[in-house]
C-alpha cells in the first residue's frame, strides 16, 4: 500500500525509457510507446527542429521580430501535442511554436505574433489551441476554466497547459493548480524545465526538490520525466492525460530539459552561463537518441528518413514562402476587434486615422 502522500510525489528519478545513447530501459510504471508512435514522433521531431532553425534564420533575415526557440526541447513540444485527442485543448506560451504546429495549426498563422502583423494569428477554436500567452503563467487559470466548462457540459475534454520553470514562481501557477485540484478539473500542467528563465537559473527560482514536488501542496499528483526522451514523455504525459480524462483531476508533469540556445535571438547567454555548461546537453539531444534507438531496433528505414526529411523541407519552404513577403496590414483593423459593437469614441478615432491616411495619400 502506498500512502496518499506517496501517490502525489513524483518518481525518485525522472522517468526515462530511452537514454542518451539510445538504449532502452524498463520502467515499472511506464511502458514504451508503440513503434508507430515513436516513428511518427521521430518525423515530428525532425520537422520541429527544422521549424526552430528556419524561424531563427528568418529572424536574422529580418522576417520575424523575435523567435524564442525550443531548439533542444522538441521532444517536449512534440509529446505535448501527440498525447492529445482532437477535442482536447492546448494552452501554449511564446516558446511553444513547434507544439502548436504539431497540433495542426498553420505555421504562418502561428508565427503572426512573432512576425508582428497581429497578436494571435490563428483561430483558437479551429484546433482548440489558445492564443500563445506571454504574461507568464496567466494562461494556466484559463486552462482550468476551459476544463471546468467542459466538465459542466459533460464533455470528456482534457486541457494541456504549458509553462516554463520560471513561470512556476508566479502566483498564477499556484492559483491554477489549487483551483484545478479543488474543482477536479481535467488539466495536465506540463512544465518544461529548461533550466533558465532568461538569465536566471532554476536554483534561484526555487529550492523545492523538484518542480513536480510542488503538486503535493495542492493535492495534485506530480511526475517528472527526462525532457529529451520522447518515449518517456509520451508515456508520462499519455498517462497523465488518461488520468485527467478518467476524472482523477489535474496532473502536474515536469520535463527536465535544457535551453541550449539563448532565451531569444535578442539575448546574450554568454553573460550568465559558460559554454561548457551547455556541452553535455548537446549529447542528450532528443533527436540523436531517438534516432539511435530506432536504428538499433531496425525501425529507421530509408522510407521513414525520407518521410521526415520531406516533412522538414516542406515546412521550411512554407515558412520561407509565407514569411518572406512583407505582410499586409490594415490600420482600420486597429479599431475593429475591441468590442462586438465599436464605441462611438472608437468609431471617431477610426475616422480620424482614415482621414489622416487619405490626406497623406493626396
Amino acid at each position: 500500500m502506498t500512502t496518499v502522500e506517496e501517490q502525489l510525489l513524483p518518481s525518485k528519478e525522472p522517468v526515462r525509457l530511452i537514454d542518451q545513447d539510445g538504449v532502452l530501459h524498463d520502467h515499472s510504471s511506464y511502458q514504451l510507446p508503440t513503434q508507430q508512435a515513436l516513428v511518427d514522433g521521430y518525423v515530428e521531431l525532425i520537422k520541429g527542429r527544422r521549424i526552430n532553425d528556419q524561424a531563427s534564420a528568418l529572424v536574422r533575415q529580418g522576417r520575424l521580430a523575435v523567435y524564442p526557440s525550443s531548439h533542444g526541447q522538441e521532444a517536449c513540444q512534440v509529446a505535448a501535442s501527440m498525447v492529445l485527442a482532437d477535442g482536447d485543448w492546448l494552452f501554449p506560451t511564446y516558446r511553444d511554436t513547434v507544439t502548436i504546429v504539431s497540433r495542426g495549426v498553420d505555421p504562418i498563422e502561428t508565427l503572426t505574433l512573432l512576425r508582428g502583423d497581429w497578436h494571435s494569428g490563428y483561430d483558437p477554436y479551429a484546433r482548440n489551441v489558445a492564443p500563445q500567452s506571454t504574461p507568464l503563467a496567466t494562461q494556466l487559470t484559463h486552462a482550468v476554466g476551459v476544463a471546468h466548462a467542459a466538465r459542466l457540459k459533460g464533455e470528456d475534454t482534457v486541457v494541456m497547459a504549458l509553462c516554463g520553470d520560471g513561470a512556476t514562481s508566479e502566483g498564477d501557477f499556484h492559483e491554477a493548480l489549487n483551483f484545478a485540484a479543488v474543482f477536479k478539473a481535467p488539466v495536465v500542467f506540463f512544465v518544461q524545465n529548461n533550466g533558465f528563465a532568461i538569465s536566471v537559473p532554476l536554483s534561484k527560482q526555487t529550492v523545492a526538490p523538484s518542480i513536480a514536488h510542488k503538486g503535493i501542496g495542492y493535492g495534485v499528483p506530480g511526475e517528472r520525466a527526462d525532457g529529451n526522451d520522447l518515449a518517456g514523455l509520451l508515456a508520462v504525459l499519455g498517462q497523465a492525460v488518461d488520468k485527467a480524462r478518467a476524472g482523477e483531476g489535474p496532473q502536474l508533469v515536469e520535463a527536465h530539459t535544457y535551453r541550449v540556445q539563448a532565451h531569444t535571438n535578442a539575448d546574450d547567454a554568454t553573460r550568465y552561463r559558460q559554454d561548457d555548461e551547455v556541452t553535455p546537453w548537446l549529447a542528450k539531444d532528443p533527436i540523436k537518441r531517438l534516432e539511435a534507438y530506432l536504428s538499433s531496433a531496425g525501425l529507421l528505414s530509408d522510407d521513414i528518413k525520407r518521410r521526415a526529411e520531406d516533412a522538414a523541407t516542406r515546412v521550411a519552404q512554407q515558412l520561407r514562402d509565407g514569411l518572406m513577403p512583407e505582410p499586409s496590414v490594415d490600420p482600420e483593423e486597429l479599431f475593429t476587434h475591441l468590442y462586438a459593437v465599436p464605441t462611438p469614441q472608437l468609431a471617431e478615432q477610426a475616422a480620424f486615422l482614415r482621414d489622416e491616411l487619405a490626406r497623406e495619400e493626396a
Binding site: S120, E175, F179, H337, Q345
Partner: protein, 328 residues
C-alpha cells in the same frame, strides 16, 4: 404585481436569479457567494435554487477567479464573478488588463469573453482601509472593457441583466452605500441599456454630471439649489464606458455650465476625462470652465475622516456658485 419596494441589493439578486433562469450558461462564483450569499448578500439563495454547479465558492484568490472565468467564457459559459471589495480586485488586475480586456482584440475577434466582474465599490459606509476604493478609473482607462455603475435600484437590475447578456466583458461597479436604500420599482419596465446616460432632473442653469454613488448626492444638491432659485440638470452616466457624449454634451450645451461629481480622486481620473471631453466638444456653449467636485488625491481615509473626502451637497453647491454667474 410588478411594482415593488426593494433595495439595490435585492434588485441585483433578482437580476442574477432571472439571468440564471433565462440562460443555463450563466454561472456565479467568487468568495463567500455560496452558502453565505456573499458578504453583501447579493447572491443570497442562488446556490440553494440553482445548485453548486451554477453558484459556487472558489478558493480565495482573485486572479484565479478571474482567470478561471476567462476560460469558462472561452468554452461557452457566461460567468459572473464577484470581487468581494473594490480593493480586493487588485490581485486580478493583470488578468483583467492583459487578458479580459484584450482577448477579443488579440484574437481578431475570434474569442469573445461574455463575462461580468461584479465589484462592490466606493465609500460612504464607514469601512476601514481597503474597503472603499473607487477603482473605476483603472478599468475605464483600459481599452476593451465596458464599465458600468448603476445609481438606482431599477438601473441596478436592468444594467446587470444587460451586462450579463453583453457580448463583451463588463466591469460592474456596485456602489456599496446604495445597496440598502429601498425604492419603489417596476422591474418589467423597459429601460435604456449599456452606453446610454439619462437625465435624472432637468434644469436650465447648470448641469451636474455624476455616476454611481455620486448621483443621489447630485440630486440632493440640485434640490437644494432649486430652493435657492437655481435650476440644475443632473445627468447620470450609468456607463462610464461606452461614454455617452451625446447626452452629456446636449445637457451642457443647453445649460452652458457644468460640474462633474465623482468620489474617486480627481487626478488622472474619469472626472478629468469628462471635463476634457466636455470642454473639447462644448467650448463655445460654455459660460464658465467646467468644475469638478471629487475626492482629494489621497488614499481613501479612515471612517472618522471620510466625510471630508466625499463630495457633499455643500461642496457641489459651492462649485456651482463658482461658475462665473456674474458674467451672465
Amino acid at each position: 404585481m410588478t411594482h415593488q419596494k426593494i433595495s439595490m441589493a435585492q434588485a441585483l439578486n433578482q437580476a442574477l436569479r432571472d439571468a440564471m433562469t433565462a440562460d443555463d450558461s450563466v454561472l456565479m462564483f467568487g468568495e463567500d457567494v455560496g452558502a453565505l450569499g456573499g458578504v453583501f448578500r447579493i447572491t443570497d439563495g442562488l446556490t440553494a435554487e440553482f445548485g453548486e454547479d451554477r453558484c459556487f465558492d472558489t478558493p480565495l484568490a482573485e486572479s484565479g477567479i478571474v482567470g478561471m472565468a476567462i476560460g469558462l467564457a472561452m468554452n461557452g459559459m457566461r460567468p459572473v464573478v464577484e470581487m468581494q471589495f473594490d480593493a480586493f480586485g487588485y490581485p486580478a488586475f493583470e488578468q483583467i488588463v492583459s487578458h479580459v480586456a484584450k482577448m477579443r482584440n488579440r484574437t481578431r475577434g475570434r474569442i469573445a469573453l461574455p463575462m461580468v466582474i461584479r465589484m462592490p465599490y466606493a465609500g460612504g459606509i464607514g469601512g476601514v482601509e481597503h474597503h472603499c476604493d473607487s477603482s473605476e478609473g483603472y478599468y475605464a482607462h483600459t481599452p476593451g472593457l465596458t464599465v458600468v455603475a448603476p445609481s438606482t435600484v431599477a438601473d441596478a437590475y436592468t444594467l446587470l441583466r444587460r451586462a450579463i447578456e453583453w457580448p463583451d466583458p463588463v466591469v460592474f461597479m456596485e456602489p456599496k452605500k446604495l445597496y440598502w436604500a429601498k425604492e419603489e420599482v417596476d422591474l418589467t419596465e423597459p429601460a435604456p441599456g449599456i452606453g446610454t446616460a439619462v437625465v435624472r432632473r432637468e434644469g436650465a442653469d447648470a448641469t451636474l454630471i455624476a455616476y454611481g454613488p455620486s448621483v443621489p448626492v447630485a440630486m440632493e444638491a440640485a434640490e437644494a439649489a432649486a430652493a435657492e432659485g437655481r435650476e440644475l440638470t443632473v445627468v447620470d452616466l450609468r456607463s462610464v464606458v461606452p461614454f455617452d457624449d451625446e447626452t452629456v454634451c446636449a445637457a451642457v450645451r443647453r445649460t452652458g455650465r457644468a460640474v462633474v461629481v465623482a468620489e474617486a480622486s480627481g487626478f488622472a481620473s474619469v472626472s478629468s476625462e469628462i471635463v476634457a471631453r466636455v470642454t473639447e466638444r462644448c467650448f463655445h456653449s460654455l459660460a464658465a470652465p467646467v468644475r469638478r467636485v471629487t475626492g482629494f488625491d489621497i488614499p481613501y481615509p479612515p471612517p472618522k475622516l471620510e466625510k471630508f473626502q466625499l463630495p457633499g451637497v455643500d461642496r457641489i453647491l459651492d462649485a456651482v456658485d463658482d461658475l462665473q454667474w456674474e458674467d451672465s
